[in-house]
């Protein structure tokens, strides 16, 4: 056993650092310095910079424009991007519909959609959840009626992240309501500019309009936009959930936020002593750092296995579960360290230090971590059944 990264992998890490230092614009760096939230323009600007470098879709096969990196290097790339505080890319094209098209799409679909996902020319969003279909996703009701070469869509999707900025949405729609509920679902790509599509932004508890209610009123969609077979969308959706389980732990993001906490704790005084010099505070931070270290080690085990061509083992299923929770705990501690400053909500810059401004909104918004992508309770159901073999009844 050898837990050190190889010299070549360390050289790659340096290459990534150098690229970030040279590649980030001053405007992006200024926001990253204080972890200010990035807007959609920032995200897409950074997307295009990474695209030009060839690193925008590390998990894609080389044949369709991926960089052909090992699992270890994908981890290093992701970790360094997160550690440097670069804008997180929109996952809907690169990590979700892209891989689905790669696995299930026709050659025409691949040629039509993949290049523009890579280049960032087309922005995607995800139409899964509905008001009556959250964790029980297969009970979705957004209806697709047959009309020759087209499907006619009627219904509503909700909590659609950044639908207001999206050019396309990939949806699960109901094409058959007669049999088992999983069997009548189709995976469909819809142009957001089609008549009858209406995305209405709503505020999240993070204070920004990150979600939409997305309505479909007699929307005509060509059947050529179906991914996989009609009524076989559940298979596509399941494959998509299992995709790239090695990068879900948010290790880099959490490490960066822990550093931010230490920085704030060094600047925050209580009784004449900085919090970072007080054992009670220092030890709270250390405890979380140790939890994060454990998660990172678990993540490295998964990577090492993936590089040997092994299917993700049981340890991979814990990455999303604990990664999202630890990330939340880190924001909880950040709020505690900030004391009264944590109460500030989008005030002018002279109220609390600039480096603290983003914490409270992020603390609120990251409550979503344990809900999206299959809530942690759903993840636990899956582990109980498939790994521990516990009975259904």
């Amino acid at each position: 056993m050898d837990l050190a990264f190889s010299e070549q992998d360390e050289a790659f890490r340096q290459e990534v650092r150098d690229f970030i230092a040279g590649g980030m614009t001053d405007a992006l760096k200024a926001k990253a310095d204080i972890d200010a939230p990035f807007d959609m323009d920032d995200t897409m600007a950074w997307h295009k910079i990474l695209y030009r470098k060839g690193w925008v879709a590390p998990q894609w096969p080389e044949a369709v424009g991926g960089p052909g990196l090992s699992a270890t290097r994908r981890f290093i790339l992701t970790e360094e991007l997160e550690l440097a505080g670069t804008p997180p890319l929109s996952p809907f094209g690169l990590s979700m519909v892209g891989p689905a098209i790669i696995q299930f799409g026709t050659d025409e679909q691949k040629a039509r959609f993949l290049p523009k996902i890579l280049s960032g020319e087309e922005v995607w969003c995800q139409g899964y959840s509905e008001p009556e279909a959250g964790s029980d996703l297969a009970s979705l009701r957004c209806k697709a009626d047959d009309d020759g070469d087209h499907l006619i869509i009627n219904g509503q999707k909700t909590w659609t992240t950044y639908a207001q900025y999206a050019d396309w949405i990939f949806c699960l729609v109901r094409t058959d309501g007669t049999g088992k509920k999983q069997a009548g679902i189709t995976f469909l790509l819809i142009d957001m500019k089609t008549e009858g599509v209406d995305a209405r932004p709503m505020l999240t508890i993070g204070g920004t309009p990150a979600f939409c209610d997305t309505f479909f009123d007699n929307v005509r969609v060509p059947k050529a936009n179906i991914i996989g077979e009609i009524n076989a969308g559940w298979t596509v959706a399941k494959a998509l959930l299992g995709h790239e389980r090695t990068l879900l732990a948010m290790v880099g993001t959490s490490r960066r936020t822990l550093r931010r906490i230490k920085h704030i704790a060094a600047e925050t005084m209580s009784g004449g002593t900085a919090l970072i010099d007080q054992p009670v505070w220092r030890n709270k931070i250390a405890h979380l750092e140790i939890e994060l270290e454990s998660l990172k080690m678990a993540n490295l085990r998964v990577l090492a296995g993936a590089d040997l061509g092994r299917a993700p083992g049981p340890e991979s299923s814990i990455l999303k579960l604990r990664g999202t929770e630890i990330n939340q705990h880190i924001y909880e501690l950040a709020m505690e360290v900030m004391g009264h400053d944590a109460l500030s909500w989008y005030n002018d810059d002279d109220v609390i230090p600039a480096s603290e401004q983003g914490i409270a909104p992020a603390f609120c918004y990251t409550r979503a971590n344990t809900i999206f992508g299959g809530s942690n309770e759903i993840q636990k159901n899956i582990i109980a059944k498939w790994i521990l073999g516990l009975p259904a009844k």
Binding site: M1, L3, E289, E293, A298
Partner: protein, 377 residues
């Protein structure tokens, strides 16, 4: 980066697995405990024949010359069925202290027979009022002609009640020193303390106990302190491995129980509330495993700060994860888990002991946070 065991390491793990399955199931520990015995000298001799007691020692000392990963493989296997022989107390603590600080003559005299399984060793560091602070040593060693006179008390010494020879830390005018004390030497009183896990531990009273200068291991002061710190870190890493074995065994017993035990006309494992608790156990086991691997690599690291950081992190994770897993195992077993008759309680109690030895979570979090790497990260 590579987490694969070598073929030799895999074979070692396989041999340990066969031994615990066929020759040392949990019933053997229970029988020893019920008879008031600490462990079995015949089994110890067998372990010596298998080479397990020489694993971490250099070949020129007559050892196997393997690394700490091999030590961790054995300790983890022993954890799974609560093997009582003093692998950590004698090999990792007493033996590694001897090998790190002693001369080849001293190793020939005390380490070699231990490797053969003829004798066992212990490392006596713990004192009342010192908790896990290695700097607080009340035992004294004073020059006495050409030798030394030791006075003071050590308590809860792993294998201290059985070892023929004990490596004792004592304060000299030049700082802390390490001395080999024979259990039957003059001025030595030792007794068996009963412990929560049923294995017992040693209490050592030295009342002007005389030892020759040939019993001094290395030079008192910074060198001996560094040896102590390293050996106790190795003890902590071995505890992480044994604790991992305990975690895995309790998880396996618990999922089996959830599948078999019926209430309300169905297996209780069908209840989501219990399923989710079992999943939390599983998650913690995987995290404890990840950190035990890290600790087993770090134990051999010459970079002292890197070693301390990794081992403190791993020992803390064992404390939080291991306690959680064994407590949940009891809860999910229900009433039967509270009976002495059921094995799950034996694992629960051993975990309590492992967490208290070689620095508890509070100690290791504090040490982790005091390192330069904490401020730099």
């Amino acid at each position: 980066m590579n987490f694969e065991l070598t073929s030799d390491q895999k074979m070692l793990a396989q041999t340990v697995r066969q031994f615990t399955k066929k020759q040392s199931p949990v019933e053997r520990f229970r029988k020893l405990r019920d008879e008031g015995k600490s462990w079995d000298r015949e089994v110890w001799a067998h372990m010596g024949e298998l080479g397990w007691l020489s694993v971490p020692f250099a070949e020129d000392l007559g050892g196997f010359g393997a690394g700490f990963v091999e030590v961790a493989i054995i300790a983890e296997g022993f954890g799974k069925t609560l093997v009582a022989e003093p692998f950590i107390g004698s090999v990792v603590l007493g033996g590694m202290a001897m090998a790190s600080a002693g001369t080849s003559e001293q190793c020939e005299r005390w380490l070699a027979p231990m490797m053969e399984g003829e004798t066992s060793l212990a490392l006596a560091t713990t004192e009342r009022g010192a908790r896990h602070n290695l700097g607080t040593v009340g035992m004294t060693a004073a020059h006495d002609g050409g030798g030394w006179k030791l006075s003071g008390e050590k308590v809860f010494v792993p294998n201290g009640h059985e070892a023929e020879h004990l490596v004792v830390s004592a304060m000299t005018p030049d700082g802390v020193g390490l001395f080999v004390v024979a259990a039957d030497g003059p001025g030595v009183t030792r007794s068996r303390l009963k412990t929560l896990d049923g294995r017992g531990a040693g209490r050592l009273r030295l009342d002007g106990a005389s030892v020759g200068d040939e019993c001094r291991l290395g030079d008192p002061g910074a060198t001996a302190a560094a040896v102590l710190e390293r050996v106790l870190d190795c003890g902590a890493a071995a505890a992480c491995a044994e604790g991992l074995g305990i975690c895995q065994a309790t998880l396996d017993m618990t999922t089996a129980h959830l599948k078999e035990r019926k209430q309300f006309d169905k297996p209780i494992g069908a209840f989501q509330a219990l399923q989710h608790r079992a999943v939390e156990m599983f998650v913690e086991v995987e995290l404890v495993r990840s950190m035990s691997i890290l600790a087993s690599i770090a134990a051999d690291d010459d970079d002292v700060e890197a070693r301390m950081r990794a081992i403190s992190a791993a020992k803390t994770k064992l404390a939080t994860g291991g306690e959680f897993v064994t407590r949940e195992a009891l809860q999910l077993h229900g009433g039967i888990g509270i009976t002495d008759e059921h094995d799950i309680g034996l694992f629960f109690k051993r975990m309590v002991v492992l967490n208290a030895l070689f620095g508890d979570a509070t100690h290791h979090v504090e040490r982790f946070a005091s390192l330069g790497s904490f401020a730099a990260e």
